[in-house]
Amino acid sequence: MSSSNSKKVLQSNLSRRTLLKGAGGALALGASSALLAACSTGSGSGGASGGGGGGNAISFGSNYSDPSTKKAFASLVAAAKKKTGVDISINTVDHNTFQNNINAYLQGTPNDLFTWFAGYRMQAFAKTKLIAPIDDVWDSIGSNFSDATKKLSKGTDGHYYFVPIYNYPWVVFYNKSTFKEKGYEVPTKWDGMVALCKQMKKDGLVPFAFGQKDGWPALGTFDIIDLRLNGYDFHMDLCQHKVPWTDKRVTAVFDQWREIMPYMQSGATGRTWEDASRTLEKKKAGMIFQGTNQIAANYVADKADLDDLDFFVYPEIDPQWGQDYMDAPADGFCLSTKAKDPKPAKKVLKYIGSSAAEANYLKYDQWDVGLAENLDVPSYNAIQKKSAQVIGQTKAVSQFLDRDTDAGFADNTVAAAIDKFINSPTKSTISDIQSSLEAQAKSVFRS
């Protein structure tokens, strides 16, 4: 009953979503934010009238717009409805549109709860008081999570603002059949990886499939080399611009990267990561470094051989840090400050912060893993089991560059600099982009 209800809500939202998608980024800011606001009020009042009582209905803004994530989200909401008795209406918006309009959305008439990301991206909203603290929710769900998860759910003021639902690791993917056929071994040290790349090239494979047209995937490679070479604290300081981009440790990251650049698929700035992933799916490439949320999901979407897919953690560069750190971005939910009635919304968040809720979501998700401790998900595949294991062994997780620093700075400025580096990986480019990045960072992190 309740699930058929939510399906109806989803269908009615589909037309809005496609409308918004069509309107897309081409619309002027004002016009598109007005659209977003318009549809959120629409679904809000719809939810209230559907719930009958005033204080027991909330609206949930969702950017889980791909068919598979949409299904998983619907399953989560249906379970939350049943468990809490709160009537939840979902307002799904295409994820790019959602993220691009988030400022106008949160300042206009946002939904009570909405999907968002952990890290600086969430903390920035906490600072501007666009999202509400939810310490009382964490009083009851705190025991379900590790200290690392608690840390990434907090704002810089020490209060909780975020309830995670899943995360996923950034690792090196490969096809088991390729490694078996050619007799390759999984490298654990940098030199081993470089040797493997050389061998793959000799064998006519693209060692690392690589696509950077979307502007962000290459940031992952920068992150991991920085984490391996300079450690977690330095990486975080760099993200917050406590260390200048002209630091010689940043030069070292690019120099290290230069060593494997000849083994990365050329023309990356014109290739989408989906196409790069397909090179691996067709076994024309040996490896790809990306998140399970993209590669495993793309294998499922393309109906490629998911059982053949495996991964290893990025090899050690400096023995001081070993393989201690990695990017493992967490997605979850926030409560907007403008929520009409936070009580039922917090009730829902309390349910979402349970292992039962995560298991419910993950029934329809074959690439992400939950964060709750003692989580038991019978539907996990080999990739997910291994993901949970490697994240568990990590000493600290970063969230990805565009979540750990100002998102615009990462996705526009750093990405443009890295594009330049990819197209001409020379010493002079490195020093050019370092000084340019520092000059731009100064104007972004002004206050």
């Binding site: 988030i102 443009a416 600099a417």
Partner: protein
């Protein structure tokens, strides 16, 4: 004498138009004045609210820092910081200006003359000119978004039409037309010219049809060659159309956006930086730098104003002469 006086009273004199105007104005009733006020006021208000207010707002915002969060109090004055940042620090600004100029140059030197050539050829009533006309006009009827998609398929590296024809589909000799930073602006300019040539052709053809055929005949009688007839007779007669085409060309090339947006899905990739793409990059998005985006928009506005001002100046001057 008296009869003439009576006559002038009844019929307003032809000379001294200012007297006529005053005369007519006095004849407006209160209702007329309200009506005129409304008819002029509504478009004027719409013009002010929808054009001048946002334009002036953008220019004002370009001298501020604002991240789009918080009300007017969150807007901080920045002086000319944003412009200095664009000119000295932003590594994407000058490539964007350069690409906009490439766009303008290709339109002025290649696409528009090509359109004029098509128009002149079709105007000579060759056999099947109707078919050529439709074929060449077809791209104009398609939306730029659709053109972008069509050409993305043609340019697609592994299985696109172009690479298949020239045999560059292998992974070692692949040509990535839209990805390679040295090639992509030219590849996109081919798409844009494909449409622009058809557009100019239609405008010019309409003008050519209106040219008095006796002019051409007279030139032929005098023994002028086709070439001389075109340069000495047709082109000068077509002056109003020529001015419109020049303005259209300049504006179309400065507001270039759609094709690149479709090609890159909104990200600014190396080789395809455009001022309009940078404006949206900074103004739309989760971290907004509205002040800086507005500064870029103002730069674009100033560049666009130059040809438009020249156009308006020339048009009004011509009317005065008449």
């Amino acid at each position: 004498m008296t009869a003439a006086d009576l006559k002038t009273d009844a019929v307003p004199p032809r000379e001294g138009s200012s007297r006529v105007r005053r005369h007519r104005l006095r004849r407006f009733s209160r209702r007329d004045k309200i009506l005129i006020g409304l008819l002029l006021g509504i478009p004027l208000a719409a013009d002010l609210v929808f054009i001048w207010f946002p334009a002036a707002g953008s220019v004002l915002l370009s001298f501020t820092h604002w991240d789009g969060i918080g009300g007017l109090s969150a807007i901080k004055s920045a002086g000319v910081d944003n412009y200095v940042f664009a000119a000295t620090t932003d590594p994407q600004f000058w490539p964007a200006v350069r690409n906009n100029l490439y766009w303008l140059l290709v339109f002025v030197v290649i696409a528009t003359p090509l359109g004029v050539l098509f128009a002149v050829l079709i105007d000579r009533n060759l056999r099947g000119s109707r078919i050529y006309q439709s074929v060449l006009f077809l791209p104009v009827m398609l939306s730029l978004a659709l053109i972008g998609i069509i050409w993305t398929l043609i340019y697609s590296p592994n299985d696109g039409l172009l690479n298949t024809i020239i045999g560059h589909t292998g992974n070692d000799n692949l040509i990535d037309w839209l990805g390679n930073p040295h090639l992509n602006i030219w590849a996109v300019l081919v798409e844009a010219s494909w449409r622009q040539a058809g557009y100019v052709m239609v405008l010019y053809l309409a003008g050519l049809k209106a040219v008095d055929p006796s002019l051409k005949e007279a030139a032929q009688m005098d023994g002028a060659s086709e070439w001389t007839t075109f340069w000495r007779i047709i082109l000068p007669v077509m002056k109003p159309i020529n001015v419109i085409i020049i303005v259209v060309t300049v504006i179309e090339s400065l507001r270039a956006y759609d094709l690149v947006y479709i090609t890159t899905k909104g990200t600014v990739i190396p080789g395809l930086e455009l001022l309009s793409m940078l404006v949206t990059q900074y103004i739309i998005g989760q971290t907004q730098r509205i002040g800086y985006g507005s500064a870029l928009a103002t730069v674009l506005l100033v560049i666009a104003l130059v040809p438009i001002c020249i156009f308006l100046y020339r048009t009004f001057r011509r009317e005065k002469v008449r």
